[in-house]
């Protein structure tokens, strides 16, 4: 039984299939009716909901109406992806307390990008509404974000110090030790020297240095150990790909590993470009307006690209916890939520893989609500909360 979602005007709505390709082969025509996002915006960002039907669903802004929407995969157990209006979500489903709070926070923060969503999710989890474990994990995650920012700032200062030769060889030790005011004074000192090199006013140079380190925060610098959330996520994704390939679980595993591989390759290339871009800081500062905008755009794209993969890693580990009895329902869940690279965002060479996977994914049926009572299944809620807790502390 398919329960169509209601839009604000009460009309039933599912994700619109793209138009059928002209003159395509049978597979293309078949796939034309599958949901296949064209852009990251269209794919939406993963929402950390704990209500089982909404777990791993995605959130986006409808570019035509500017309304916020939630995309729920396999909601009715069928192939469709249901699109629910954000505001009316609680009238369609019973949400957990956590999800009602998250909905309020997301609306307030307009968290339509993965990075903003991540912060919103941590803030809500910190209340304890997703359990003590998730609260503790969120606290650690928020501290880690602050720590990442600090490390990135220090890493950048070290680069500039080396570039300008403003301090002596003990800089690294000094940088490790300085905190607070002393650190601030170093920024002032360094940016003054750097401003001469870039021929920009010292004040402007200082604010730009801070802006750049803020923009680089989620990624960190290449030569820093354990730097940046996005680099850590990529590492996990690569481990996932290796693990799926090694498990040799047949065609499904092959496609999942392929998708992970495509995503990892794209992410590596994007990170490589950012690293190259940032290597020559004076040149970056010379074309500041264009470069910082491009950097922010690349960073957003990278975050979008890797969005949702940590959940997949967790589900994979759960599925493989007992190698004697691989949990194929978890594998099915992975295939339901696996973040396909949107067609418009990937190269032609990987499009075929994405198309193929898109077709396979929609053969999966998953029903999460207790069909007899219509109540939330709190055991599944606990499992989702545990996943959230584990993915938070990366």
């Amino acid at each position: 039984m398919n329960r169509p979602a209601l839009t604000r005007n009460g009309a039933a709505k599912t994700a619109e299939p793209p138009r059928a390709a002209l003159g395509g082969d049978a597979q293309t025509l078949h796939l034309a009716y599958d949901y296949a996002p064209s852009t990251f915006d269209e794919r939406g960002t993963t929402v950390a909901f704990t209500t089982p039907e909404l777990a791993f669903s995605r959130f986006r802004r409808d570019s035509r109406t500017n309304h916020l929407e939630v995309l729920v995969m396999g909601f009715s157990g069928g192939r469709s992806i249901y699109v629910f209006p954000w505001e009316g979500l609680a009238s369609v489903l019973r949400l957990t307390l956590h999800d009602r709070a998250l909905q309020a926070e997301i609306s307030l923060a307009d968290a339509i990008t993965p990075m903003r969503m991540r912060l919103a999710a941590h803030r809500v989890a910190r209340t304890g509404l997703a359990g003590a474990e998730a609260a503790a994990a969120a606290t650690i995650a928020i501290e880690r974000i602050a720590q990442d920012e600090k490390l990135t700032r220090e890493a950048m200062l070290r680069r500039i110090i080396r570039l300008t030769g403003v301090l002596d060889k003990t800089t690294d030790d000094l940088m490790r030790r300085v905190r607070g005011r002393v650190g601030e004074s170093i920024i002032v000192q360094v940016s003054d020297v750097f401003s001469k090199l870039t021929r920009q006013p010292p004040e402007l140079c200082r604010s730009r240095l801070l802006e750049l380190s803020d923009a680089m925060g989620p990624l960190g610098f290449a030569d820093e150990q354990d730097a940046g959330y996005l680099r850590r996520t990529l590492r996990q994704l690569e481990e996932l790909r290796t693990s799926i390939s090694a498990a040799n679980i047949g065609a499904t595993g092959h496609l999942a590993a392929e998708t992970a591989g495509v995503t990892a390759r794209m992410a590596e290339r994007m990170i490589g470009e950012i690293d190259r871009e940032i290597r020559n800081l004076p040149a970056f500062f010379a074309g500041w307006e264009t470069n910082i905008a491009r950097l922010r755009h690349s960073m957003d794209r990278l975050a979008w690209l890797l969005d949702g993969w940590l959940d997949v890693c967790e589900l994979w580990q759960a599925a493989m916890a007992d190698r004697q009895n691989i949990d194929h329902r978890r594998i099915a869940e992975i295939m339901r939520i696996i973040p396909l690279v949107p067609k418009g965002e990937c190269e032609t060479t990987v499009r075929a893989t994405m198309d193929n996977l898109s077709g396979i994914r929609h053969r999966i049926v998953q029903q999460l609500q207790d069909w007899r009572t219509g109540e939330v299944d709190y055991e599944i809620v606990s499992r989702i909360e545990a996943i959230k807790a584990r993915t938070a502390v990366l």
Partner: protein, 468 residues
């Protein structure tokens, strides 16, 4: 040698149980080994530790799902007492010619992979096992003393030999059916279409036998397999549909009757467990849910089955109802009371909140499990209602004691209130639990808002400000 008590073993973590199992597996004394395994078998079913591959385990593979620990006075058809296996295995071994392979497997130190597609070497061994069982069965009819000899080894052994022989003869079809059912879970495949194929395999396996018991055994092996539990509905439906069309009308009924009897045994064992801890309550709730689901599936098919099946299901559901209204409600009530009855205004510990959450979860599980069958027992309903009130009262006491406290104390109390509210969520409606949380928060001076979204935002702000 003194074996540990079952109670002590029940306290062990899953990891430790795996270790105990591995040690038990290496015990040289077969009787002690069996006793120790029996003590932990109810947990092994859930934990499913890796098992060492031995020739005797391989022998049990085709009929493993029918093995039963209980030995009621009258054995039911399709139930193979576990203590029958030892004597039968020794008879089978005597008739095997290739002892080298058996010794090699026993010494291989490999683990048993219960995949429905045995390795080539194992397939050959299964064929030789089938021959051996077949010889024993022939001897039963040709040798007049044989039945008495077997009965002396185990009273059910002659009948068990008949059933194991039948299963062994159908093993390829059974394993193929199992493989097809499992394949349907793995995305690309057969979907629900497997039922038609399974029915065809059953026909193929029993062709020319003229004995309906074979047909019943074919389905029992599949229906009793825990790995295939999610598919029992489809299988029973297909079987009942076939029965409704007149072919072997009693088969579906008889299979279901055996399954209902098995559920009864499982419930009896489950209800005998102690309910002194939240984990015990959850185990009982799981048992109730599994039985309710299984009975529900059979009830759906009951219009096509004998009337007695419906009556047996009614009796089982009555037993569940009585258990939930009595023993279960009492134990859950005690669990809630241990949380709410705390004197003074001390904050509950993390463990106390966790125990409350698990108790409430067990109540929610059984409520959901029986919802479609009947109203929850009055005592259970009352428990749910009073639990919400008494938990709310404890939160009020905690808040009242901190009205004049420091901001830190208030924030700690709010953190506890949030987690307690979340614990009670599974048995409460949204408004009640939200009200409970809001009452506490307002008393602590945090938030007051007629709009739930605004209230949540204030809570988020308060909890995040605490740590910033």
């Amino acid at each position: 040698m003194q074996l540990p008590e079952r109670k002590e073993l029940d306290q062990l973590s899953e990891e430790k149980i795996k270790m105990v199992y591995a040690l038990a597996d290496k015990m040289p004394d077969g009787q002690l080994r069996g006793q120790l395994k029996d003590q932990i078998r109810h947990r092994l079913k859930k934990i499913r530790p890796l098992r060492r591959l031995t020739a005797s385990r391989l022998f049990c593979l085709p009929f493993e799902s029918l093995l039963s620990n209980d030995t009621p006075r009258m054995r039911t058809f399709g139930s193979i007492p576990r203590n029958c296996v030892g004597p039968l295995w020794s008879l089978v071994k005597d008739r095997l010619t290739d002892h080298e392979t058996i010794d090699r497997i026993d010494a291989s130190n490999q683990m048993l992979m219960p995949q429905p597609c045995p390795m080539v070497e194992h397939r050959q061994l299964l064929a030789s096992y089938a021959d051996a069982v077949s010889q024993i069965r022939s001897a039963l009819s040709s040798d007049r003393e044989m039945p008495a000899r077997l009965t002396a080894m185990h009273r059910d052994l002659p009948d068990v030999v008949e059933e194991i022989h039948a299963i062994y003869q159908m093993r390829d079809e059974i394993l193929t059916a199992k493989r097809q059912i499992i394949a349907s879970e793995q995305l690309i495949g057969i979907g629900d279409e497997y039922t038609r194929s399974v029915m065809a395999l059953a026909r193929q396996a029993t062709a020319g036998r003229g004995d309906q018991r074979w047909y019943k055994l074919f389905f029992l092996v599949l229906l009793m397999d825990e790995e295939l539990a999610d598919h029992s509905g489809h299988l029973i439906e297909a079987l009942a549909e076939k029965s409704a069309r007149g072919a072997g009308a009693s088969i579906a009924s008889e299979v279901c009757e055996i399954m209902v009897a098995r559920e009864g045994e499982a419930l009896k064992a489950g209800f005998a467990e102690a309910l002194t801890t939240p984990a015990g309550l959850n185990a009982a709730a799981d048992q109730v849910r599994a039985s309710a689901e299984s009975l529900g599936v059979m009830r759906l098919a009951s219009p096509h089955l004998n009337r007695q099946i419906g009556e047996s299901i009614d009796r089982m559901e009555e037993r569940i109802h009585e258990f939930l209204g009595g023993q279960f409600a009492k134990a859950a009530g005690a669990g809630v009371a241990s949380f709410t009855g705390a004197t003074g205004e001390n904050l509950p510990t993390v463990d106390e909140i966790k125990a409350l959450g698990q108790t409430i979860l067990a109540v929610a599980k059984v409520q959901a499990a029986i919802h479609h069958v009947y109203d929850p027992p009055a005592d259970l309903k009352e428990l749910a209602k009073t639990a919400i009130e008494s938990v709310g009262a404890r939160l009020d006491r905690i808040a009242a004691a901190r009205v004049a406290g420091t901001m830190r104390q208030k924030q700690d109390a709010l953190a506890v209130a949030v987690q307690v509210a979340r614990s009670i969520e599974p048995i409460s409606n949204e408004e009640t639990v939200l009200e409970m949380l809001e009452d506490c928060a307002v008393q602590l001076g945090f938030a007051e808002s007629s709009d739930p979204a605004q209230f949540f935002l204030k809570i988020i702000q308060a909890m995040n400000t605490t740590h910033e």
